[in-house]
């Protein structure tokens, strides 16, 4: 009975996921694909034709954009991964996973755009660091003419991505480490005469990597297709492909929609090709690793690397904190001229006027964030409960289904999806935005919740069943309360993902649903850092508060239940 009920539940969940998640993406991809091959009757284009592709290749700077995309995408992902692995090697055994988790939580919570806006100010030639050193150390009375932010090589963009991705990698590495008998292997390796860094690099890392492969692909795909960071930090003439494509989509000449769609399709191909290439490189790296191992050299080589990596990660996190502090300080500023280290005059004028826009944007952000998270969480619980009751293991294809929205670049299907939504009469409302965001929130909630869900001690449920509790009672009276902490953590992650969404909100909301993120990105190209600072401060504060709540609520609820206040119970 319950088993059949579980199957039914899972089928229902699958239907919801297929209709709500896979279908829109497929429809969006189809719309984009049709336009890429010259079929968009609205602007009088009746394909199929290859003209959009020729037009794309002929657009000035298109090849440079492509080169920049590949360079920033690969460099930032590889660098983040290596740094996170080195930092994890250094931190492992020095700090508990919970301490590390708490230290990186703020960076996970902060949306990319807010961090980038703050970083742009901190590192710019007219920025905080330069102000701190001028004119006494540098002799600069006016900012030097240096290419730092928007630099043609995309280094600022890479820096921004790395600051944001290293904490994410640290998080997934910590999760994976829990599945690896690292301490025992370390002892065994050291007994055989290998240095700790060698054991880490050649024994533990491969096991960890096998588990974090999908998140690495997600990051790679994200870095290759990011728009908001590209606008704020990336090169501008020409920009990376995703930014160029967004500009073409929005250009006054609506004919550019066709090459823009071609670029969107190219973006999807690039992401998939990049993942395949990365996969190939994995094989090469593991072959090389084995060759090195076979030579059997012992020693303390590589141990400097862990220290170096940890040092760099520390510096990056410091830079991130400085960026967040800069945002808040700007929001409280009236005038702050170069080269003063602190503002000359402070003012609460932007905070005092919620009616000027941030009030509505904050409200929208909160409502969309909570509704989206609640939807995603409900769906995830239903999915996991269905699996559990049906006694089904997670199939590979189901895993793929969950990761689909994260691996296919957003830009590739959002324009097509916008047309679909308009046709259904759904565009432009808060409902469309919630749906669009749920596409990206659900996978993260699912990823965050799966492991704790399965790790729950089954004896608790068996005991409850033996005491006569039915499946619903076991779920609501035992499982969910015991899993309160991971549930709230998943909700906090989902909320942070929702707050950070830029393109889905812009496209599916028809620009009519201002959120803190859309407004902050728009304002980042205005002259008023004080207003931008206000939006970006709020944008980072909301997810941060939700994270804090996810940490404090279980601590308070379980203040008399020591075992439950732990990580997973």
């Amino acid at each position: 009975m319950t088993r059949a009920g579980g199957r039914w539940l899972r089928a229902a969940v699958l239907a919801v996921v297929a209709l709500g998640l896979v279908l829109p993406i497929a429809a969006g991809l189809w719309g984009t694909l049709a336009a890429a091959f010259g079929h968009l009757p609205a602007i009088g284009a009746n394909g199929p034709s290859l003209a959009p592709w020729r037009q794309l290749v002929d657009l000035p700077g298109a090849l440079t954009s492509l080169r920049l995309t590949l360079w920033t995408g690969f460099a930032s992902t590889a660098l983040s991964l290596v740094l996170a692995l080195a930092a994890a090697a250094w931190a492992h055994g020095r700090f508990g996973p919970r301490a590390i988790g708490r230290a990186i939580a703020p960076f996970l919570a902060v949306p990319h755009a807010a961090l980038a806006i703050g970083l742009a100010f901190v590192i710019a030639p007219s920025g905080w660091i330069a102000r701190g050193l001028s004119p006494w150390a540098t002799g600069w009375d006016v900012p030097p003419d240096l290419a730092i932010v928007h630099d043609p090589a995309g280094l600022a963009l890479i820096l921004g991505l790395v600051i944001k991705e290293v904490p994410f990698f640290l998080l997934v590495i910590l999760g994976a480490l829990a599945q690896v008998p690292a301490a025992a292997q370390m002892r065994a390796g050291r007994a055989l005469g290998y240095g700790p860094a060698q054991v880490w690099a050649f024994v533990i890392t491969p096991q960890v990597y096998a588990q974090i492969r999908l998140p690495v692909y997600v990051v790679l795909s994200f870095a290759l297709s990011v728009v908001d960071l590209g606008i704020i930090l990336g090169p501008s003439n020409p920009p990376v492909l995703a930014v160029a494509m967004t500009r073409w989509f929005l250009a006054p000449d609506s004919g550019l929609i066709l090459p823009a769609s071609a670029a969107a399709v190219a973006q999807a191909v690039i992401a998939l090709g990049a993942i395949a290439l990365w996969r190939g490189t994995e094989t090469l790296v593991s072959l090389a690793g084995r060759a090195i191992l076979r030579r059997g050299r012992r020693g303390r080589t590589w141990s400097g690397a862990a220290w170096g990596g940890a040092g760099i990660v520390g510096a990056l996190l410091l830079l991130g904190l400085l960026s967040l502090a800069a945002l808040t300080l700007w929001s409280l500023t009236w005038r702050w001229s170069f080269p003063n280290v602190w503002p000359e005059s402070l003012s609460l004028h932007t905070w005092a006027r919620p009616g000027a826009g941030w009030g509505l944007a904050a409200l929208n952000t909160l409502v969309i964030g909570f509704v989206t998270t609640a939807l995603a969480l409900t769906l995830a619980v239903a999915w996991l409960e269905g699996e559990e009751r049906g006694g089904l293991a997670r199939a590979r294809w189901a895993e793929g289904l969950i990761y689909l929205p994260l691996i296919v670049p957003q830009v590739a299907f959002l324009y097509g999806l916008q047309v679909v939504f308009v046709r259904l009469g759904l565009a432009g409302g808060i409902g469309a935005v919630i749906w669009g965001q749920a596409l990206f929130v659900f996978p993260y909630v699912m990823i965050a919740l799966s492991d704790p869900w399965r790790a729950l001690d089954p004896r608790l449920l068996r005991a409850a069943a033996a005491l006569g509790a039915g499946p619903m009672r076991r779920l609501f009276a035992v499982r969910l309360p015991v899993l309160l902490r991971p549930l709230l953590t998943a909700a906090a992650i989902g909320f942070a993902v929702s707050v950070a969404q830029y393109l889905p909100t812009l496209f599916l909301g028809a620009g009519r649903v201002p959120t803190l993120t859309t407004e902050a990105v728009t304002l980042s190209s205005s002259s008023d850092r004080r207003v931008t600072g206000t939006y970006a401060t709020l944008q980072s504060a909301l997810p941060f508060l939700v994270y804090a709540a996810a940490f404090l609520i279980p601590a308070w609820v379980f203040r008399h239940r020591r075992a439950l206040s732990g990580e997973t119970g």
Binding site: L40, P41, A42, I43, P60, G61, T64, P125, S126, D141, V142, P143, D145, A147, H150, D151, P152, P235, S236, N237, P238, L250, A251, P252, D253, S254, I257, W334, R335, S337, F338, S345, S347, G355, A356, G357, Y415, Q418, V419, V420, V422, R423, G425, A427, G428, A510, G511, R512, P514, E519, V521, T522, L523, S525, S526, S527, D528, R529, R530, V531
Partner: protein, 395 residues
């Protein structure tokens, strides 16, 4: 003979609004929310729109919801997407702050509602004679498809604490920039402000400025722009970051002037420096100035998409924006500081007095110092210049 009549009949059938009187329009508008799609990068404009919403709500029961755009083209794309989906009524865009290329594109594709300007009671304060600034948008005839609401004029801004005498011509600017390398730049040419800077230079440098009033063609483009590119090739290496990268728009460049990263910025609003000082965004020593021989000026318009859900409300708002009291409020430098679009000759005593009572500032150039207003070249010049620039300088 027959065709025009047929067209008129079809138009009348397609546009039932034409038959309505203004009172009926006002009555239909009551209770509507007008989604005004307007560039949202300027806080004062946003505040002005919020103020206008309060006013029209009190007077007509219409509210305005500003849809803040990073780029006006976003709204055009949205209307195109709606048309693509066959949504020919109840569209999401009720009104667009529009100009030049975007207007031309929408007008050519039949995406605009109208003509409606003649139906607005306050249109009587406008000079709509052929060739007047309010009847031509970047040389494209308006023909009643968009209503004017604010006047813009190209000016340069500098910090008088760092620059004693700013260059007042494009030739002088090249000399100045060569003497002060890295201290001048212009907004990206994909942005309308950057393109306007090049157009301003083109008017000064081209052998025959009158040719710019006709469309740019393959045939006349090279000859007309050769001096511009020669001048720009010399200027570019002297620019900030060697002309490899550019601020995204004039706002970003204004921030660079404020930071001291450059010494000269530019704006399409003579009051922008005074306004920025007022807001704490530029030092007290910032000044706006015009170039010898005058600068490009144009009028900003509002247009209504063909599928707008709240056409009546949008017309009420367009009419409100033309009210002399609204125009005087907008011209106040503590509010917007944008010059009125109305014809002074058509205003009465009381209406004129409101304009005379407005405050002034040292950063605000007098009407005299601003010099003549040059008419915008045909929009095809802007498009072709932007394309040619991208081809020459984007690698």
């Amino acid at each position: 003979m027959r065709l025009p009549i047929l067209t008129a009949v079809l138009l009348a059938a397609a546009l039932p609004l034409r038959a309505e009187s203004w009172d009926e329009i006002v009555a239909a508008a009551r209770g509507q929310t007008v989604y005004w799609n307007a560039w949202g990068g300027d806080e004062r404009t946003n505040d002005f729109i919020a103020w206008a919403s309060d006013q029209v709500e009190a007077q007509y029961g219409v509210t305005i919801q500003q849809v803040k755009l990073a780029d006006t083209a976003e709204a055009v794309t949205r209307v195109v997407a709606e048309k693509a989906a066959g949504q020919d009524a109840d569209g999401s865009v009720d009104m667009i702050w529009i100009n030049g290329a975007n207007f031309l594109s929408m007008k050519e594709q039949g995406l605009l509602h109208g003509p409606f300007v003649a139906d607005l009671p306050n249109a009587r304060y406008l000079d709509l004679s052929p060739g007047s600034a309010a009847s031509v948008d970047f040389t494209v005839p308006v023909e009643g498809y968009e209503a004017p609401w604010r006047l813009a004029k190209f000016v340069m801004t500098y910090d008088s604490a760092r620059v004693e005498t700013p260059p007042r011509s494009m030739a002088a600017l090249l000399e100045w920039s060569a003497a002060n390398p890295g201290r001048f730049t212009h907004p990206a040419v994909s942005n309308f402000m950057g393109a306007t800077f090049l157009k301003q230079a083109l008017i000064e440098l081209t052998p025959d400025a009158s040719a710019l009033q006709g469309p740019a063609t393959e045939g006349n483009f090279d000859a007309a722009t050769a001096p511009l590119w020669a001048w720009y090739d010399a200027l570019r290496p002297t620019l900030w970051r060697g002309g490899e990268t550019f601020p995204e728009n004039a706002s970003v460049q204004e921030q660079m002037l404020n930071d001291g990263a450059v010494d000269i910025s530019m704006a399409f609003d003579p009051a922008s420096a005074a306004a920025a000082i007022e807001k704490g965004l530029l030092p007290e020593t910032a000044r706006a100035y015009a170039l010898e021989g005058g600068t490009i000026g144009n009028i900003s318009f509002v247009a209504i998409p063909y599928n707008a859900a709240h056409k009546e409300g949008a017309m009420v708002v367009a009419n409100f924006l033309l009210d002399p009291a609204t125009q005087a409020h907008a011209q106040d430098i503590t509010v917007l500081g944008s010059f009125a679009v109305l014809d002074p000759a058509k205003l009465g005593e009381a209406e004129r007095a409101a304009f005379n009572a407005l405050p002034t500032s040292p950063a605000l150039p007098t009407l005299e110092a601003l010099g003549p207003t040059l008419i915008e070249p045909h929009p095809s010049w802007m498009t072709m210049i932007a394309e040619a620039w991208a081809e020459r300088y984007t690698r």
